[in-house]
Amino acid sequence: MELMYWWILPVAAAAAAGAGWLVFRKGNRENARRRPVANADRLTALPEYQAALRRYRRWLGVAALAASALAASAAIAVARPVELTTIRPVQHNRDIVLCLDASGSMSSADARVVEVFTELAADFDGERIGLTIFDSSAVQVFPLTDDYSYVQEQLTMAKDAFNGEAGTSGFLDGTWNGRGSSLIGDGLASCVESFPAADGTAHDGPPRDESPRSRSVVLATDNFLSGDPIFTLDQAGDLAQERDVRVYALNPGDFDYGTAAGQPGALLRAAAEATGGAYYPLDSPDAVAGIVRDVQATEAAAIQGAPRAVVSDRPDLPLTVALLSGFVLAGASWRLRP
């Protein structure tokens, strides 16, 4: 807590001292307009007078205290108490595409990913999110958008579909066209393609002068490829790297044997890390939440702005004190009215 105009305080103190001097200077000259009376002790010695005098002095003390508290707190409020903090502002200019393998083995992990993003989307402010599901072919459920109510609605539907609830089977339509299953390279490529072009040509109208948005793909797959994809995983990873998209891979079925590079988990790890993302093997669907938040934090940290000093006014305490002492002063003045 600091005072922005600290020099107000000595000025206010000097003003208060001057006012006090003016008021108390001529204590004796006051008697000029009073009448002289004799035997005043016959009045002042009365116990009733003494009691009334004590009461009067008590209220006078209260009034003096309240007045000085009011003056002091008002002076402090005028001196503008501020809190200086250094913050690293988090910029909410991220684009996230959820890229979910819709094969049957992935449904519980997908449901968790969607659920977590449903919760996260509630706190989003400026982020854009998109959802693409793929099996043998990729379907864009919704493109990058910041219409969060729509996002919530779609994510809830997706969760219900992944949980296999009745009446939701149509959600996964179009992801299976018989050419194989879990064509991961194709799915990832579709997801990467759903970002607008980095040079802004995808925008209508003149290119906007805005800070570049970070791009990430949350890819949930077990990397059990069956079929013949157009893009291999490596090619899709290269595409992502080219487009400056980080891939965070979640693998609920990491059944690698040993550390050989040809295992599906190891391949996925290599592809993800090549893009600057990360790879998380999942032990249970419940671990998804922690991982997604981890990814979010990493992403946020990656695009933090420069540290900035923030000056925030904190007048509430002195103003509260001023208000209260004002009330007390009003009450005391009412008691002391002539």
Binding site: R35, P36, V37, A38, N39, L43, L46, E48, Y49
Partner: protein
Amino acid sequence: MTSLLQRVRSKMSIFAHRKARGMLDGEYGSVFRGRSLDFDDLRAYIPGDEVRDIDWKASARHGSPLIKRYVAVRRQTLMLIADTGRNMAAESRDGEPKKDIAVMALGVMGYLAHRHGDVVGLVCGDAHGSRTLPAKAGVAHLERLLQEVDSGTSLGSGPSRLQEQLHHVARTVKGRKLLFVVTDELAEDPGLEQLLRRLRAQHEILWLTIRDAELAGGGAADSFSVADASPLLDRIARSPAVAAAYATATAERESGRHAMLRSVGISEGHVANSHDVMTELFALLERHRRAG
């Protein structure tokens, strides 16, 4: 400088319009006039003269009341006893300085004495000491006495303490005198009562009390104590509880003083402003004559 005595005499002449001034003279004469047994002559009756001084046979022959006069009437001495402490510089109940009322009362009494050919002296002072101005005749001397009281009383004077002056009189004044005491509302106290008893045994005493200002109740205004210049809080003084307590205390003090003076045998008069001085003095003299 306007003469204080001039003021007193003009006040007395105004009073004369309402009551015959001679009446006041008669009152004074019957109270203070010393009597000898040697008959001198007769003079016409003045209202206020003692009825027992009327020579009934001579009056019957003459057709109008005649008063017996005696020769070798002792020249009386009137001692004015005044408090010139700072209490007397304070205001009276009706807002006049008490000093002015005291000067008026002393002047009237002194002038009456002067007209009867008596000599007038003064004892005045405050707690720090008393001054005596010896008894002499003449208006110039009377004027000097009044000036002494008038200029000797101010807010810078010492605290008031009439006992000091009374002690001084008891110590220094020889012979039987007429004492005229002008002071404010004294409180009864055993020492004072004893002192007054001692003085009363030797002298004739008239007592005039000048009313103090009301300190409490509705009449209380912004005021300060002459004792220490400290202001009185009139908002407290006006509060009913304090006013009631003060009124009770004042009434007790009053009755205590009355009882003391009565038991000693001193006639007391009260006055709150200088207009009432004549009436009150007349009543006081009348009362004293009756008390005999």
